[in-house]
């Protein structure tokens, strides 16, 4: 379980990471703990899966991956795990989820595809379909990005006060 200190650490770690020689020192000072304690906590979060990664997320359009499509699939329930493993192995697939479908929307499996062009996305989806032996899918190309941001967890803990 997360205590108040964990929430405070998580809230502050979502600030811009300082591009300085000793960034954790600076972040620890903001939290009000020692650098060693922060490093230990972060390593523990990573081991427990709470911290997915320390690193950078790039702007995919700027680095040449201009096309992205959400590909929605109909996968027989008994094959979800097998297809999940198969598609996760593909580099162009960045996200892969099984989801609960709806009566008006039968697709129960989702892959996010990133490629340089639309045609490349289409070819990728076709390749995945053939590989997995699936024929019901739809490619939902994005036409406009309205919002893309990182989640701000426990924002109420970010500014010094620890709410009770």
């Amino acid at each position: 379980m997360l205590d108040n200190l964990d929430k405070k650490i998580i809230a502050v770690m979502q600030d811009d990471f300082p591009l300085v020689a000793e960034p954790y020192q600076e972040l620890a000072a903001r939290i009000g703990i020692s650098e060693d304690e922060l490093l230990t906590k972060l390593n523990n979060y990573q081991k427990a899966g709470k911290l997915r990664k320390m690193g950078a997320v790039l702007k995919h359009r700027e680095i040449g991956y201009a096309a992205n499509a959400l590909c929605a699939w109909i996968v027989p329930e008994t094959r979800l795990d097998e297809v999940g493993r198969l598609m996760s192995g593909c580099k162009a697939v960045t996200h892969c989820y099984a989801r609960i479908p709806q009566p008006e929307w039968p697709y129960n499996f989702y892959t996010m595809l990133h490629a340089h062009t639309r045609d490349e996305c289409k070819a990728l989806a076709l390749k995945l379909a053939q590989m997995a032996g699936l024929d019901s899918y739809t490619l939902l190309f994005s036409t406009r990005e309205w919002k893309k941001t990182s989640m701000n967890y426990f924002p109420e803990y970010a500014n010094g006060e620890w709410p009770e």
Binding site: L2, I10, M13, Q14, D15, D16, F17, L19, V20, A21, P23, Y24, L39, L42, Y45, Q46, A48, G49, K50, L51, R52, K53, M54, G55, A56, V57, L58, K59, H60, E62, I63, Y65, L70, G84, R85, M87, S88, V93, T94, H95, C96, Y97, A98, R99, I100, E104, W105, L140, F141, S142, R144, E145, W146, K147, K148, T149, S150, M151, N152, Y153
Partner: protein, 149 residues
Amino acid sequence: MLTAFDKELLNIIQTRLPIEHRPFGRVAEWLETDETTVLERLSWLKANGYIRRIGAFFDSTCLGYVSTLAAVKVCPDQLEAVAKAINAYAGVTHNYEREGEYNLWFTLLTPDQDKQDRTLANIRNLPGVEGLISLPAIEKYKVSVEFNL
């Protein structure tokens, strides 16, 4: 233009920023350069829009948050207003206009299910919204937004 060095640096920094006293010094060692060069290039890459964010990325489920992927069917003349109203929720992290019957797709993270239900009900009631589907995940097989440069 990205240099060969930038690409190598981006490949490393996407996946493993060391959790240690001088993380950029360690990255510099891997790249056989010095800490100052790494810091300067990273600042440049960030200022020039190649890097969206550097830092910690947490797993929402492990932190106790509830998530879903939702889509709404919106009539085109109301789309901008609906997109902006959806964006206003702090728990909406991605919101994309997409081709198809459901033309606006967003992800929603909330501290609990009740907050999710209320948020989705509010969105469903926005003027111009003709339908809403919510597709909560039952299994996460991969989340890895990493690109090989």
